[in-house]
Symmetry: C2
Subunit: 425 residues, 2 copies
């Protein structure tokens, strides 16, 4: 069993320990919620100030040319591509995750309609993040399709029935942290004639992703979680080159036009992934996102995503062991996969009584995680802890378990102040 | 004829002159392009830094509650509502202009399909801003409709044929600055059984807009032009309450759900305009937009949009008069309406030879306007000057005409350096 000193020693030996210095971490906070909102990179404030004061304030409209604003979506996209096994020129940063999902799912359905018009089923996981299901619900209605929700274990047999047009999955589940084997499932899907749409919200920057290696079809992901792009950061979109130019996506705005400044009356989609852009780039937000992505690229000389993954698994494995050893007397059960190969970069603990209040009490002690309802539940009974190898330390894991022990042992979570729900949970 | 001293005197008497102090204007620049990208408000840099460093950096995930992030779209929307004759709770700020147009045009088509299924025509102006036409083209194809492009003068007779589902117009044309009478055209449309979608990109914050008074159906607009929200700022969307809850819009992301944090598997749209939200709010960009909108609200004690309109017309009228009086020897013709009632807050001059190079030479002299191809032309033959009454001075108008005279008289625009086209125009 690891003591606190052991954990401090692990941090001292950690080859990635210097990366923590790339971030501004508030005093007295043990932040285990980078899977919801990544922390502030040190470079971001100055870069955003430069964009606001010099590029916008001084350069004004000239900065579209002189400051490279128009190239932002591709430039940031190319950086993200390096984290997800995509090629140069295959990714753009733009809009929100939900909107990008709409683009790729619509494109996937257009391709399916052309190639296999009798397939009318979109399949997803019942416990997928709701916005994915809502967007799929909208597109299913538009395309005369059915959205079928199943459990993770039912995916393979469901595909085998051979009638699924599109399989839409979030690679790492937002509640349990369970991770799908993208390559294996994509192969099953393709064998069954099904296209795949992958949401990388909890995997880009968290685990190694190899979209090209997996022969995936479409992917989108979030900029404000593991990419540290800031609250509501632009998201990203990737399409395998074999599909990119087959159809338009429906959000055919001028920035996705082959030549936006020709001001043609007819839409002519840009070559390649550029056609997945829509409106004018969100310049300020995109600058913050770029700083966030740069924090992950800073790990490249240290082994990149493989090294981050090794540390992530060391952190989550330590957390699970610590909970088992030190919190055995408390009514907590592991709600994340035991098998490291199936685990993302988070660990969820089922806490059937008082999950919400326990997390509030933890936050009051400076340990910030969050909570979600478990699969099939409407109660906030899952305590969720995200471990971000760029800045989470082994001693943070130890201290979080200590704080959780204190909260549960003292019973302080039963106090009224921890049971008042905030507007946003 | 006004001399430069007369113009300085006009500025000294201008009741809105103090509003210029709300902005950071670069030295040596006479900025007449606020219709493309508004200038930087003085408050923005500090506010954005606060959001980045305190709210994000220190508050982290807690700021969704403690800093009011989740309420941003409605809070900023309510401020924009005051500029466009909309009610409290009727506007949200979100996404881009193109994406918001997609939402409202899709909703309008759903209503039209329900109420008048035989109507299959979307009508717009041929010289509308292209992104509007591209989005309409996409939705027309989805809904089995035709997009018909006509000239401004053909709108009334075209409506009278009684087969138009939706009329989609930009109130102030981006090239000529010609302004439609929203109330009159909406009345004609309704008399013909047609719904109206108004793009306020060049009118919100530029001219008084009265959506409720005009009984308009749907409207969207841009955050980075006259609202001074910064490059690629979030846009806004308004729907008349009689339509808001009739249908979903197709971009049914989780932030438009009735209860996003219930994490339901089925979409249930929020009551009211909230259902026009989609993904997580772009917090940093939204903070900059709010500072921009606040610069317009600062005019409220001085007469608000009516006072701004009076100054805008005084500026554009002065510019036209100065061009006529001082530039009569040059081959320039007015490409904007003579009648002030039909004029937005910009003036375009047709410059058949060398429009692009003339503007580059002007910019080199510190007078920043831009250029566009005139209606029916593919050449950049229109010099476009935006007059933003919040910060444009009468002496700026005078000086711009002097610079234009110098450029044309000297022939310096023929120099090679002014004829090399930049990537982004």
């Amino acid at each position: 069993m690891n003591t606190r000193s052991d954990c401090i020693a692990l941090d001292a030996q950690d080859p990635l320990r210097e990366l923590r210095n790339l971030f501004t971490l508030p005093e007295g906070v043990n932040y285990l919620d980078g899977n919801s909102l990544g922390v502030l990179p040190r470079a971001t404030a100055a870069r955003v100030a430069q964009v606001v004061q010099q590029e916008w304030g001084e350069g004004l409209i000239r900065s579209w040319n002189t400051a490279g604003w128009m190239a932002q979506p591709q430039r940031v996209g190319n950086k993200i591509a390096r984290l997800i096994g995509a090629g140069e020129g295959e990714v753009v940063a733009a809009d929100s995750t939900s909107i990008n999902l709409y683009k790729v799912l619509a494109a996937a359905l257009r391709i399916a309609q052309a190639d296999a018009p009798n397939r009318k089923v979109i399949v997803s996981e019942r416990s997928n993040f709701p916005t994915d299901l809502y967007i799929a619900q909208s597109l299913a209605a538009q395309h005369g399709c059915t959205l079928e929700l199943i459990s993770a274990d039912e995916v393979a047999p469901r595909l085998a029935r051979g009638d699924v047009a599109v399989l839409m999955l979030t690679q790492v589940n937002y509640r349990s942290g369970r991770m799908f084997d993208m390559a294996a499932i994509t192969a099953q899907a393709h064998a069954a004639g099904t296209l795949t749409v992958w949401d990388l919200a909890h995997s880009a920057g968290a685990v190694p992703v190899d979209l090209r290696g997996a022969k995936a079809d479409f992917a989108i992901g979030c900029g404000y979680k593991y990419l540290n792009g800031g609250p509501g950061a632009p998201a990203f979109v990737w399409v395998h080159p074999r599909h990119t130019e087959r159809f338009w996506q429906p959000l055919s705005g001028w920035i996705g036009h082959a030549n936006p400044f020709s001001f043609d009356t007819a839409y002519q989609p840009a070559a390649g992934i550029g056609r997945y852009l829509c409106g004018t780039p969100a310049v300020i937000a995109m600058a913050a996102l770029e700083c966030g992505v740069d924090t992950l690229l800073a790990a490249e000389p240290l082994g990149g995503m493989a090294a981050l993954r090794a540390k992530s698994l060391a952190l989550t494995t330590l957390f699970i062991a610590q909970v088992r050893e030190r919190l055995a007397d408390h009514p907590l059960t592991l709600a994340s996969p035991e098998d490291p190969a199936l685990r993302g970069s988070q660990v969820s603990l089922a806490c059937p009584e008082g999950g919400y209040a326990v997390m509030q009490a933890l936050i009051a002690r400076g340990v910030i995680g969050d909570f979600r309802a478990g699969d099939g539940s409407t109660e906030p009974d899952l305590l969720r802890f995200g471990f971000t190898p760029l800045y989470t330390q082994f001693v943070d894991v130890y201290d979080a378990v200590t704080a959780l022990d204190d909260v549960l042992t003292s019973g302080e979570w039963r106090e009224a102040r921890f049971n008042q729900k905030a507007a946003v949970t």
